[in-house]
């Protein structure tokens, strides 16, 4: 790589290790669980975050980041992949600033991106309730909730800009819940003791996304943004070390198209669908991010997965996805299982109070039903593993616990509960055929969000210059676990306020040299896309793409789900490798590549999920500690609580693609805490 712009971070992706150094590093890792599976690389660090007082850092960076001359902006082009909160808000804001923006999504309209399904709310440190909230408290809660595995500078900035998000959304006409005086209502949410969550009934994500979508469409009308719907990114173009474009497949015509720009932004969401069953939308995938990873962008902390405690349990083998019930339900619902196994098959209403175990209230009296998601999830699993689960038996086990509103309905009245949760209760009734107003809901954990993602610096730039990553697709702000109502906050913080203020520093050097259509890097990328499609279409095997995806998901859930162990992860890696091999030999994709072909779309996504799944297992194997959403069976207290090892693992694990069938390379970013003291988390 030559002529690296001075805005890039210190990581040099062209570095190669000689064989001796490799052997030495591997030797040094012999005691590690994952030693056989990876190669140790150089440490990396975020060189963009300014030092000095925490509260000044973002101001400093905004001032120091260069400004692209307004007259120049109409010659500067930006590609934004994804139109969820992080993508639509970024595309709209960059359009307003005068850049030439191309926005891509795989859905038939930008308004359908999966942010739309977020229910509960969005945090902001407004302190409108006067209950002691502040930017610092939101920062502190987020660092603590992330189990001390996120960066102080990033998280503080997130808390700072949170208040502007609410202002922006209200101005756009987002109909947040209000009090009788006409001012905004707040609620407390997910393991937090202040009321800082703004919400729009149980459809906050929808309303925020419609706001961002409308801002985006306004820019389309203004001519600054062009939207490409039903276009899926299948490759990143890197020329002379810079991200300069993408290759997409037009999902209607099947055409492979190439688009160039001065900078590429990935806002392509999370990869929870590697588990097949998750609360993600059917189309959510890792392909955009994974293609970038294969081109040199590091993937950070891929094993950090959030399992959401309040989802509707699996009903049978046909299940295509899982449905989340907002955890705001935990504010009023009480979680319990029968004390006695013999009661598990009974009608819950006939089980007397003294025979119920409100286990979260019992084990965590201070937080009760509002403990963080990972704790609530794992305890639900523990109860079911003990044989005290409820609901129908699937494969011989009852996997469900009760979430009971009887007490809340008694205390507040049915009307009050309807006002708060009617759409959630309706959804539950529709899916299960049961009425949650008269009988407790059954819930069970499901994969919901991934904290891991592409590694970015304080500017949200990846290790490929000119490739920026926002929202769930990056790893930046949530550490090892995310607080409830913080995903929407981060998506919009990145898209409206952070990225537009950092990307300009990079764009100030542009426009960059025009890329020739026949540039070898472009031709190579196009060829690899076409040959991959060709391979899917000609394999002509016997198994459907979905059947492979389902099996991969089962492996991931079993061995890289709520609890991970050394033996399980090793087994998972073997299973994934052999399944992947079989997939490439035996998958069946019918129809034509030159028209809409949903099997072909899925085949490309599943192929990338195989590689990601393996890396997730390696990352989980390497991290022999329990932190946040990652629970290692070997690292727990005598009481079965998660046990962190800050002396060994207070780092971000950023993985470099080593090549197909080669070992990935681990780069560690050590985390230092200047302001917050690292504490072992306790919610008792």
């Amino acid at each position: 790589m030559t002529d690296l712009p001075d805005t890039t971070n210190s990581f040099d992706s062209s570095r190669t290790l000689d064989a001796a150094a490799l052997a030495e590093r591997e030797g040094a890792q012999q005691t590690d669980d994952a030693a056989d599976y990876y190669v140790d690389g150089d440490p990396i660090q975020d060189t963009k975050a300014p030092g000095g007082p925490l509260e000044e850092r973002w101001n400093t960076r905004q001032f120091e980041a260069r400004i692209a001359n307004p007259a120049n902006r109409r010659r500067l082009s930006v590609i934004v992949v994804g139109t969820g909160l992080a993508g639509a808000s970024a595309a709209a804001t960059l359009g307003e600033a005068g850049y030439v923006v191309k926005s891509f999504c795989y859905q038939d309209s930008p308004r359908r991106a999966h942010s739309i399904a977020a229910q509960g709310g969005i945090n902001a440190a407004k302190n409108y309730k006067g209950d002691g909230d502040s930017v610092y408290r939101l920062f502190y809660d987020t660092i603590k909730g992330g189990d001390y595995r996120s960066r102080e500078s990033n998280v503080y900035r997130l808390a700072q800009v949170s208040t502007s998000i609410i202002d922006q959304c209200v101005a756009q006409g987002v109909p947040f819940a209000r009090e009788y005086g006409g001012l905004l209502d707040n609620r407390s949410f997910g393991g937090v003791q202040v009321s800082r969550t703004f919400y729009a009934r149980g459809q906050t994500g929808q309303q925020l996304l419609i706001g961002a979508y409308q801002a985006l469409e306004r820019q389309v009308a203004a001519g600054t943004v062009k939207c490409y719907t039903r276009h899926e990114m299948v490759e990143l173009i890197v020329v002379d070390g810079r991200a300069r474009g993408i290759i997409v497949r037009d999902m209607v015509t099947g055409e492979i198209e190439t688009y160039f720009a001065d900078v590429v932004v990935l806002a392509s969401g999370g990869y929870g669908n590697v588990f097949f069953l998750s609360t993600n939308a059917m189309g959510c995938n890792v392909t955009a991010a994974w293609r970038a990873h294969r081109k040199g962008a590091l993937m950070a902390n891929p094993c950090y997965t959030q399992i959401h405690p309040t989802c509707i349990p699996v009903a049978g083998a046909h299940q295509s996805k899982l449905t989340l019930m907002s955890e705001s339900l935990r504010n009023d619902g009480r979680i319990w299982v029968p004390k006695n196994q013999a009661d598990c098959g009974k009608d819950p209403r006939e089980i007397p109070e003294e025979d119920r175990d409100y286990y979260l209230e019992r084990i965590y009296p201070a937080f009760g039903n509002l403990v963080p998601r990972d704790i609530a999830s794992r305890q639900a699993k523990n109860m079911c593993d003990e044989g005290r689960g409820v609901g129908p038996e699937v494969d011989g086990v009852r996997r469900g616990v009760y979430l009971d509103f009887a007490e809340a309905i008694d205390r507040l009245g049915r009307k009050a509960i309807e006002d708060k949760y009617d759409n959630l209760f309706d959804m539950y009734a529709r899916i299960t055929g049961e009425d949650p107003y008269t009988s407790p809901m059954r819930i069970y954990p499901a994969v919901h969000y991934v904290m891991g993602g592409l590694w970015v610096d304080y500017d949200l730039q990846s290790t490929i210059p000119g490739l920026f990553v926002t929202g769930e697709a990056n790893f930046s702000d949530h550490g090892a676990n995310r607080l409830g109502a913080s995903a929407l906050m981060q998506g919009l913080a990145d898209g409206y306020f952070v990225l537009p203020n950092t990307i300009r520093d990079y764009l100030a050097e542009g426009p960059f040299e025009k890329i020739a259509e026949d540039d070898p890097a472009v031709v190579e990328a196009q060829q690899s896309v076409k040959s991959r499609i060709e391979q899917f279409m000609t394999t002509n095997g016997t198994r459907s793409v979905d059947s492979y995806h389902r099996e991969l998901g089962h492996i991931m859930w079993e061995y890289c789900g709520m609890e991970r162990s050394e033996d399980g992860l090793r087994k998972a890696i073997d299973l994934i490798r052999s399944l992947k091999e079989d997939f490439w030999r035996n998958v069946r994709v019918l129809g034509s590549a030159e028209s809409m072909n949903q099997s072909l779309e899925k085949a490309g996504r599943v192929a990338d999920f195989f590689e990601l799944g393996e890396l997730m297992c390696i990352d989980a194997l390497n991290r022999r500690e329990s932190c946040g959403g990652h629970f290692r069976a070997e690292s727990q207290t005598e009481e079965g609580e998660a046990l962190r090892h800050d002396d060994q693992y207070a780092y971000v694990a950023a993985w470099e693609w080593g090549g197909a069938d080669e070992k990935p390379i681990l780069h560690k970013e050590h985390l230092t805490y200047e302001f917050v003291e690292m504490k072992q988390r306790s919610y008792k």
Partner: protein, 247 residues
Amino acid sequence: MKLNLKIWRQENATAPGGIHTYELDDVSEDMSFLEMLDVLNEQLNAEGEEPIAFDSDCREGICGQCSLMIDGEAHGPEVTTTCQLHMRSFRDGDSITIEPWRADAFPIVKDLVVDRSAFDRIIQQGGYISVNTGAAPDAHATPVPKDKANRAFDVATCIGCGACVAACPNGSASLFLGAKITHLGELPQGQAERDTRVVNMIGQHDAEGFGGCTNIGECTAACPKEIPLDVISRLNWDLHAALRHGK
């Protein structure tokens, strides 16, 4: 249960289409309608026939990507989206006819998939409040009466699925249009552009080939989010006001 499925298949926008018949066994009442189609597609794939293309994404009733006319009703017999329709609404031995949305303004892409980009173009003509990022005053600067906020929210729940158009004998998108006009028009923030918004959005609606409203009400009956019919009154009211104001 066992089902007899009559499904519209069409290779692309210009190819002729037709109804194909499929038999499907072992359908569980806990399946969603789309999971039933997933099972059918697995069966077709195994038999060497190309799976049926249909749209879906979130499968929890909020993204609006799924469609389908089921026995002539948009989203089928229940008041919900197709993805939230469950097979317990059907009986063993039922024959079910499945077609794409039917409207000139929603051309067929393939099989059961249609092109609804006309809705995006309607929004482009004013379905927003013009405020650049960073230009907003404090969120509490303008109180909004709770009843107005609630009304705005109720109609803002529109998911843009197009069922209203598919259900309307005229192929009108007036319910979709009225929902957005009402959402933004209820809020103080939406007043400045209220007149131009309604005129421009209706202009685009007509240009896209959607039909006029004749107050039949099929739209609101089919709407999975139960957007009320009176948003169309509001639409007409706002249009008349705008015309009076010389827009």
